[in-house]
């Protein structure tokens, strides 16, 4: 699971009003190089909840993202590289995503988050 995906995921346990962002508990992660694509980064920047991304990055030991960001920063190559790295190159292999509201843990095994709910959570 990349941090881009984490930025989209939201807990849908019954009764949860705001299930975003899920707290990332990472036990194992890997980095895989991806070619930088500026157009894609500019496009997706507006979708990204920055605080959630920065928080998730810290959870995997990457503290190079600023606490806040705005579109003007996309002109700086250094920023782009950090954004790119956090968003696309880090893969969480083992760990869990924790619902901010209920504390429900969604496990991540072999890089795959399991977001299925039990009958009583639907």
């Amino acid at each position: 699971m990349r941090l881009l995906t984490h930025n989209m995921l939201s807990s849908n346990v019954k009764g949860v009003v705001d299930g975003f962002p899920l707290r990332l508990e990472a036990e194992k992660w890997v980095e895989k190089e991806v070619e930088l694509n500026v157009d894609f980064l500019r496009h997706i920047f507006h979708k990204i909840e920055w605080k959630a991304l920065a928080g998730a990055a810290r959870a995997v030991g990457y503290g190079e993202l600023p606490d806040e960001a705005d579109a003007a920063m996309l002109d700086a190559e250094d920023f782009l590289r950090r954004f790119h790295h956090a968003l696309l190159e880090i893969h969480v292999e083992e760990g869990a995503l924790v619902c901010p509201d209920t504390g429900r843990r969604f496990p991540i095994n072999k890089g795959i988050p399991n977001m299925l709910l039990n009958e009583d959570e639907i």
Partner: protein
């Protein structure tokens, strides 16, 4: 007291069009009823044990024309229990029976057997108290578990990419985030390499296959996506909705697609059509009772009508160039080879001569089916689940074909049905709809 009993075994299977009528008379009623029951049980046993024999009906129905008092309940009890075990409601038994006979039926006994539940056809969908997001047993047993069991084999036969889906994906802006809800083995993930894909499927086995190919995927339910709103630039739902067993779940799955894409985002939905280009395929599917009911999954036998001797291999997908495009943008890692070797058993089988008579006097179109998947014995070992699938009745052996036969649940769509489902969704408009290669397709735009 002398009595006369007439036993009719009406065959729902059209290949056995001769209805056998046996009259036993005059015998003392107790002898008549016991030998009758014995005969009937033997007959039913034969019917169930010989599914491969087309001349033995898979549904045998008892019609009692006249009988002494006291035997009614016992006999109708047999009829009822058989109807239950074959997934037929008593009323459906009656309908079938009436198709063959216009005799005086003791319908009050068939209709209301003592200590039996009301006929299952009376249950309308979604009467359960749980929400629309809660997965009905029919889907758990005949969709989720099946795909988990057949995943590697299924995946090795699913590589041909449908041109209409490809052209939709290729029409999207570079850099688009595309959400594939029900991605299966991920054959569309990465198709347009200038886009970013996130897939999900409810089958962990299929999701694992996607991961091995280097795709970004998770295990999630397309009816209840764990995504925040407006994130995707586009979404696709390819051959997914027909695995959902109620109208409200199919609508909810569409609403979810609309919810998770941004305003102006496009959604492509494709589903299997009743109107198959190859009409003979329908004859190889097993029609189910027309209403979903819990009885389906509690019964050890599938709720079939008609010929349960299933013959279908798989639905042919359009053979297009099956080049596995690797994502130029994001293929930082493994992009596994695509298995292009089709198993013998996965090649569509020859057309069977027999024609299933689906016209049972009901005006509705048959839309609920079991579509068999043949898992060759030599592939069955891979999943390892074969033994337990056989034990639990999830799969059956077909030694002639050398394969395990799994039944997958399908609700195939009629013309206009997708449009109807979408009509209640007020923040989406239809931008295109078409029929292609036995599928109904619709393109929506979030407004």
């Amino acid at each position: 007291m002398s009595s006369t009993l007439h036993l009719s075994l009406a065959c729902a299977n059209s290949t056995a069009s001769k209805a056998t009528t046996t009259s036993l008379s005059p015998f003392p009623s107790d002898i008549v009823s016991s030998s009758f029951l014995h005969l009937l049980k033997v007959y039913l046993f034969l019917s169930e044990e010989s599914p491969a024999n087309d001349h033995i009906p898979t549904s045998a129905l008892l019609v009692v024309v006249s009988m002494p008092r006291g035997t009614t309940s016992e006999l109708s009890g047999v009829s009822w229990s058989y109807a239950q075990s074959s997934g037929m409601s008593a009323m459906e038994s009656l309908r079938h029976t009436q198709k063959f006979h216009s005799t005086n039926l003791l319908s009050e006994n068939l209709d209301q057997p003592s200590n039996s539940p009301e006929p299952s056809y009376l249950h309308v969908e979604n009467t359960c108290s749980s929400s629309v997001c809660s997965t009905p047993d029919i889907e758990k047993k005949y969709v989720h578990r099946i795909y988990d069991a057949i995943a590697p084999h299924f995946s090795s036969t699913r590589f041909a990419k449908w041109p209409k889906v490809a052209s939709f994906l290729n029409s999207l802006q570079p850099g688009s985030v595309i959400l594939d809800a029900g991605c299966g083995n991920g054959k569309y993930l990465g198709l347009n390499p200038d886009c970013f894909y996130i897939g999900c499927d409810i089958s962990p086995s299929l999701v694992e296959i996607c991961t091995r190919k280097g795709h970004e995927v998770m295990v999630a339910d397309a009816v209840d996506l764990p995504y925040r709103e407006n994130f995707g630039d586009a979404a696709i739902s390819i051959a997914v909705l027909h695995h959902l067993s109620t109208d409200s779940r199919r609508i909810k799955a569409i609403e979810e697609l609309v919810r998770v894409v941004r305003k102006g985002g496009l959604i492509l939905i494709t589903v299997w059509a009743v109107e198959q280009e190859d009409k003979s395929l329908l004859t190889k599917w097993t029609p189910l009772c027309h209403k979903y009911d819990d009885e389906w999954v509690k019964s050890s036998n599938p709720p079939v009508r008609g010929n349960a001797a299933t013959k279908l291999e798989c639905i042919p997908e359009l053979d297009e160039s099956c080049r596995q495009t690797s994502s130029r943008l994001f293929a930082g890692e493994v992009e596994s080879r695509t298995d292009k070797v089709m198993d013998g058993a996965s090649i569509p089988c020859s057309i069977s001569e027999g024609e299933y008579s689906s016209n049972d006097g009901l005006s509705e179109t048959q839309q609920e089916y079991f579509v068999p998947w043949h898992l060759p014995y030599h592939r069955a070992e891979i999943s390892g689940a074969s033994a337990s699938a056989l034990e639990s009745g999830l799969a059956k052996k077909d030694d002639k074909k050398g394969a395990l036969v799994y039944n997958r649940y399908y609700h195939v769509f009629v013309e206009g049905e997708l449009q109807r489902l979408v009509s209640g969704i007020n923040n989406a408009s239809i931008v295109d709809q078409f029929y292609d290669k036995s599928n109904w397709c619709i393109v929506l735009e979030k407004i």
